[in-house]
């Protein structure tokens, strides 16, 4: 194959004794994970700018007196990198013991959020539940924030600021920020208010990137008490036309939550408030399970589909006969899937002969 002259030239470095190639611009962490090195992280989210806060990803680089954060350090030609020396692994374990010491609890229900098991998983991997470094705990929860979507359980916060960064970098909302400093840092909104009084759009991205469950999905947590295995089913969000991939969480036949699909081609892990939280309708007792038609007494009565469709057709025909085809206007529901939206416009255009069709998500 002829190389494209605009392709970045590939360079090489030594990774744990093996020569590997990399593309200029890649970080050490990116090169290493590409080569299946399991470098621990807590402040890393591949969608965000590398931050360099947790320091767990530090690796040894020949010629550097101290370990360097692999997430923020660019690979350079000839670099000699050691990703898991005894010394670095010891520091990682100590760091994890330190992190564990600042939280009220470590094991949280996976329904709290997509990344909520990251800390507990790492603590187990490094056998770091030793109880060393006991002392004051950091972060103050906000039980007063009674919004229906996001639990702000900051007692479990480890100050990785992934929530703040995803809100700013991915969402552009800048609804939350870091207040005070040192051990007393606290995630806050403007003037320490409630999320509903801030620029928050309740997209839930902060929840899904939180590695400890300090931010949790309140909608899903309603089902934490249900026993049984949680199953994931990949589908597309039924709302607007973007087509975000989601994983629907179910226990038996009960829908218990929605996770954004990090590999969804349209959303790469992003969702909005509707896709993330507005799925109560699925199991709502008011949801219609059978067609209804109005009887002679004016009340709605359950019926079969043939009867219902005949009645609807009759009504449309009557209106078109009396007032012409442009007297009909149709709005497709944003809660219906794309396919249903397509059928709706086909029915209106081809069936009724008018272009009076819209979708409520257009606004």
């Amino acid at each position: 194959m002829i190389a494209n002259p605009t392709d970045a030239k590939s360079e090489s470095l030594t990774l744990d004794g093996k020569e590997v190639s990399f593309t200029p611009g890649e970080t050490i962490y990116e090169v290493a994970t590409r080569h299946r090195k399991r470098i621990p992280t807590l402040c890393y989210d591949e969608r965000l700018e590398p931050f360099g806060g947790c320091r767990l990803c530090a690796v040894e680089v020949e010629g550097s007196r101290l370990p360097v954060a692999s997430c923020t350090t660019k690979a350079t030609p000839g670099m000699q990198i050691r990703t898991s020396t005894a010394s670095v692994e010891k520091h990682r374990r100590t760091l994890l013991e330190m992190v564990a010491s600042e939280n009220r609890e470590i094991d949280v229900d996976p329904l709290r959020g997509y990344a909520s098991q990251e800390l507990s998983t790492l603590l187990d991997r490094y056998d770091a539940r030793t109880g060393r470094f006991a002392g004051a705990q950091s972060g103050s929860s906000r039980p007063d924030d009674d919004n229906p979507f996001i639990l702000r359980d900051y007692d479990l916060c480890i100050s990785c600021y992934r929530c703040v960064r995803v809100c700013a970098e991915q969402e552009g909302d800048h609804a939350i920020s870091v207040m005070s400093r040192g051990f007393h840092t606290q995630i806050t909104t403007e003037f320490e208010g409630l999320l509903k009084h801030s620029a928050c759009t309740f997209c839930g991205q902060c929840v899904q990137t939180c590695p400890t469950g300090a931010l949790a999905d309140r909608k899903a947590m309603r089902f934490a008490h249900l026993s049984g295995e949680t199953k994931q089913t990949r589908t597309i969000c039924p709302y607007c036309g973007v087509g975000c991939s989601v994983d629907i969480l179910t226990k038996d036949s009960t829908m218990v939550g929605v996770l954004p699909a990090m590999d969804g081609p349209a959303n790469l892990g992003a969702l909005c408030v509707k896709g993330q939280f507005a799925w109560d309708f699925v199991q709502h007792p008011d949801r219609l399970a059978t067609p209804l038609v109005r009887g002679a007494d004016g009340e709605l009565q359950p019926t079969d589909w043939d009867t219902a469709l005949d009645r609807a057709a009759e009504g449309f025909r009557k209106v078109v006969d009396e007032h012409g085809r442009h007297s009909v206007y149709a709005v497709a529901s944003g809660r219906a899937p794309n396919e249903a939206g397509y059928l709706m416009q086909k029915f209106v255009r081809a069936g009724l002969g008018t272009n009076n069709v819209d979708n409520c998500s257009r606004a």
Partner: protein
Amino acid sequence: MTVTAIPTNHQLIEQCRTEPAPLLPLLHAFHERDGHLSEEALREIAGALKIPIAELFGDVTFYHHFAREPQGYGVPRVCTGPVCAHRGGLELLEALRETGARPMPCAGRCDEPVPVLRGGELLVGTAPRSLVTKPSPIPAPNPGGIEECVFAHIREPGRATLQGYRRTGGYEALERVVRSGAPADVLAAIADSKLAGRGGAGFPTGTKWTAVADAPGTPKSIVCNADEGEPGCFKDRALLDHDPHAVIEGMALAAYATGATRGFIYLRYEYPDTFGILAQAIADAEAAALLGDNVLGTDFTFRLYLRRGAGAYICGEEGSLLNSLEGKHPFPRNRPPFPVTHGYENLPTVVNNVETLAAATAIVRRGAEWYRGLGMNGQAGTKVISLSGDIRRPGNYEVPLGLPLETLLHQWAGGPEVGRAIQAVTMAGLSGGFLAGKDLDVTLDEPSIRSKGSFLGAGGIMVFDDRHDMIAVARDAMAFFAHESCGKCFPCRIGTQRITERLAGEAGPTDLSAWIDEVADLGQTMKAMSACGLGLAAPLITESLLKYFPKDVARHVERTGHDARGDR
């Protein structure tokens, strides 16, 4: 009767908005006008500068001195730093309690305790009624009679004025250099002098300036780091108060040598008098065409801006300082890239300490060889040491690098009080931890002090005589680092807290070997994994404590165990 109109929000905003680095001056303007930073003020500022309000709120809470409660600006802040705490600071704070007085970390007046900041005023004294404003102490004449560099002219009357500065050749170096049109000569002189950063890190100044000169991208900047926050350091205050034009000339020379066209002095909040002196010096230099557009009628342009911090030790770290200047959250930046290529606004930037810039002026005037020759025992040049604590003549001393510490302590500064012995001294302010016992035989230069596991750094040395409980001294030192830890990196944020708790006896093992294990593990991980100098250096406190005072540590842990078990 004159009526001074109170400026409107709009007027305050318009004064700052078009200048570079507008956030800090704007916050200070509202803070001073209103007596605090109200929600309304922050919303105005956020709107004007297009900063998200949540971020601005978070940023403001980062700084120690920005008051959010009404009248908070004028509430006295009393220094309770390592020296002042033992010189009446704690008693003064108590005596001023009913005024709402609050403690503040070392405010850089260790040679004349105790400083009290009240609004825009800095007062000094040890009792509420004896608090006075007065100029900061001028360094005493060199006790060793040794030739100086940055203090050579500082004691001349009127030196702080433009006229006084020019009396002995001030700005002649700048004039000669800009007229000669040879920036490379300046770079060569600085490199040849072996001048290294005097703020603590010791990076070769010539290498830094050359890197900025060579780096692509304009406009380039010169930033003077005058955020002298290290406890026990007050040398930059002396230079800026009594010889401000030497620093300004150094910045202009750096600008000319590197092609920079703008400069910033980032001054710590706790030096309000210095702010006034610098503002005047800059105005005078501009009026004399030594700064601004077309310096001395040439096509060299250098605009200098004075900016003031608001109480955050970490802003002395260059990445934090640059973020603070840019109006961002003052976390340190990831390195690389370094400021020489990605500094202020991600453009090439020299960040130099005050003393470095003052020395550069002298070097360009008098030559690299002269400067190199000022050192002793093969060391090049001089270093200002801020000496304070239990010593008879505290103050700033410019020493030849390589001078024995004992000479400074005993011959120059008079030694401890009669009947007392020096128990320990700190190095690099607090960042170098303690030296004690036989290790006091070091010479004042990095190779010698580093061989003892410490470092000279910014040159602050605090003396503790045999009256002190070294555990308490170490606890207060670590509490300072915990208070100032920015919260970005895990090892420092958690480590400084955990070590403080252990030194305070509030948490941790009651078994001595487990206690030592925990403290040593915390320290080693902080020293290896922290993101900036704060977390890397803080463990030197406990490392040196364990090295020199193991019996005190054992007693402390035993006492903690007794308390935990409820023994008497």
